[in-house]
């Protein structure tokens, strides 16, 4: 446990000091302030515009950090062989992977926290629904981070990144695609979408990043469902990543 905490804090420190993450965070904050400006041109819809655009920017930033970090994290460690020094210590490959994941989790948590505090200050609300929306964005990012990490153990980082983007889009369109498949009455399409529901996380179930959910917060049942689904996907893909990484030759 101590090794995981040490690795997590070191990874977090390393990533915070890298400019790429700060640039993404700055861009996301810029979009939030841009939405504030655009709201001035609307008729009494400034809060709605700020909430919708601001949360979209937050999610974009968090998802970008999750996918880039997850896709390139292991590849960079293997290319530069920085993991060899760590793994020569009494640290298992599983602990190494979890430690790295935990460091990225801390990074995502910081990013979402900063963005949420900015949103809260601009909206003038520090209520529970705001933090529920922030949690849903964090949950989505962690699922994508875990997927990207798993994919990077099998394919090149760029492919892992692309697959993460596809997963993100598919996860949001699952409901619509299922609807179209059912309407098409094509049995193959229906079966494919039925299988997809088991293989792809349904991000639409906790897609709460809008003004509507700010004033009409999700139910406790939905929040618990989000937490359970998020935890399940993270555990499955981290376990799969660990299984592949444990067998890999670190040449």
């Amino acid at each position: 446990m101590k090794a995981i905490v040490t690795l997590a804090l070191t990874s977090y420190r390393e990533m915070i000091r890298e400019r790429v993450v700060l640039v993404i965070a700055a861009l996301a904050l810029f979009l939030v302030f841009l939405s504030l400006l655009l709201g001035q041109f609307t008729f009494d819809e400034s809060e709605r515009l700020l909430a919708d655009l601001g949360w979209a920017a937050t999610e974009l930033g968090a998802v970008a950090v999750a996918l880039f970090s997850g896709s390139f994290l292991l590849a960079r460690e293997l290319d530069r062989q920085t993991c060899l020094l760590i793994l020569s210590k009494p640290v298992s490959r599983t602990q190494f992977l979890i430690g790295k994941w935990a460091g990225t989790f801390l990074l995502l948590l910081s990013l979402v926290l900063v963005m949420s505090l900015t949103m809260a200050a601009l909206l003038g609300r520090f209520s529970a629904p705001l933090w529920i929306i922030a949690a849903s964005i964090l949950c989505k990012s962690l699922i994508l981070l875990s997927w990207a990490l798993f994919a990077s153990t099998l394919v090149r980082p760029t492919l892992a990144l692309l697959s993460g983007v596809c997963l993100y889009l598919l996860g949001h369109w699952l409901g619509d695609l299922t609807y179209f498949a059912e309407k098409s009455a094509d049995p193959a399409a229906v079966e494919i979408m039925r299988a997809a529901r088991w293989l792809v996380p349904n991000f639409d179930l906790f897609n709460w990043k809008d003004h509507f959910h700010l004033v009409n917060p999700p139910s406790s049942r939905d929040i618990i469902g989000m937490c359970l689904q998020g935890a399940a996907w993270v555990v499955i893909w981290l376990a799969a990543a660990g299984a592949v990484f444990r067998r890999k030759d670190l040449v």
Binding site: K2, A3, T6, L7, T10, R13, E14, R17, E18, R80, Q81, T82, L84, L85, I86, L87, S88, K89, P90, V91, S92, R247, D249, L250, V251
Partner: protein, 246 residues
């Protein structure tokens, strides 16, 4: 007593879609006697780094057994080992002090870290750069901080892959001095190098690898035979077994 025993190590790297499989280690077997400074010599691409990576399980051998302190390598054994890879790429955004604290913490060392850190940095002549980020270090400085993390917890066994690579003459003298000090402390040292002169100066035990096969594993004196130094002994060996230098 042997601190490390390697027997029957084979390794084949599987080819990709259009590449054939390639066997790189053939029945590698050697032992590291306790308290000795052991040199591991071989040309480029002969299997030195692959063998060292197999020792730690970074590369999984197809066959063979490796024992550290009489047991398979586990967390307890790793605490007693200091390792430095061939090209120590490090976390560039950490400072020297943070980097050493990371490894001190991971190895589970007890005691006063600030004192240990100050002591080791003085030994590798990096006290002036301890709070600078590793990305500002020169190649020689990176090599020396890499050595520092291997030594900071006073391990019983040091495994160093080309420890003098990238060092200027002063740096090489410094590393040799450190290795002599570690031997005097009672540590067992296993280091790979291309440079026979370094082996001659420091080693009492020699393992020679060529094309993935161990050609000699024993006292330096027995390899040197009646020759005045290792370089002449190596030339004579080549002449006898391979018909001369390539």
């Amino acid at each position: 007593m042997n601190l490390v025993e390697v027997s029957g190590l084979d390794k084949t790297f599987k080819g990709g879609l259009f590449e054939k499989s390639r066997q790189v280690l053939f029945d590698v077997r050697f032992a590291l006697p306790a308290g000795e400074t052991c040199g591991f010599v071989g040309g480029n691409g002969q299997g030195k780094t692959t063998t060292i990576k197999c020792l730690f399980g970074f590369i999984r051998p197809d066959r063979g057994e490796i024992r550290f302190f009489g047991r398979p390598l586990g967390p307890r054994e790793k605490k007693r080992i200091g390792y430095m890879p061939e090209r120590p790429y490090l976390y560039e955004f950490l400072t020297g002090r943070e980097f050493l604290r990371l490894h001190w913490s991971l190895v589970g060392a007890s005691g006063d870290f600030p004192a240990a850190c100050e002591s080791i940095l003085r030994r590798v002549d990096l006290s002036h750069a301890v709070d600078k980020r590793l990305r500002s270090y020169s190649k020689g400085m990176l090599q020396r901080i890499g050595l520092a993390q291997a030594l900071i917890h006073s391990p019983d066994l040091l495994i160093l892959d080309e420890p003098m690579s990238g060092l200027d003459p002063d740096g090489r003298l410094l590393v040799k001095e450190i290795l002599r000090e570690e031997k005097a402390r009672g540590a067992t040292i296993f280091f790979s190098s291309h440079l026979l002169q370094d082996m001659d100066e420091l080693c009492t035990h020699l393992t020679v690898i060529e094309a993935g096969r161990i050609l000699h594993d024993g006292a330096v004196a027995s390899f040197r035979n009646e020759h005045p130094d290792l370089e002449k002994a190596f030339r004579a060996w080549r002449l006898k077994h391979r018909g001369g230098l390539p």
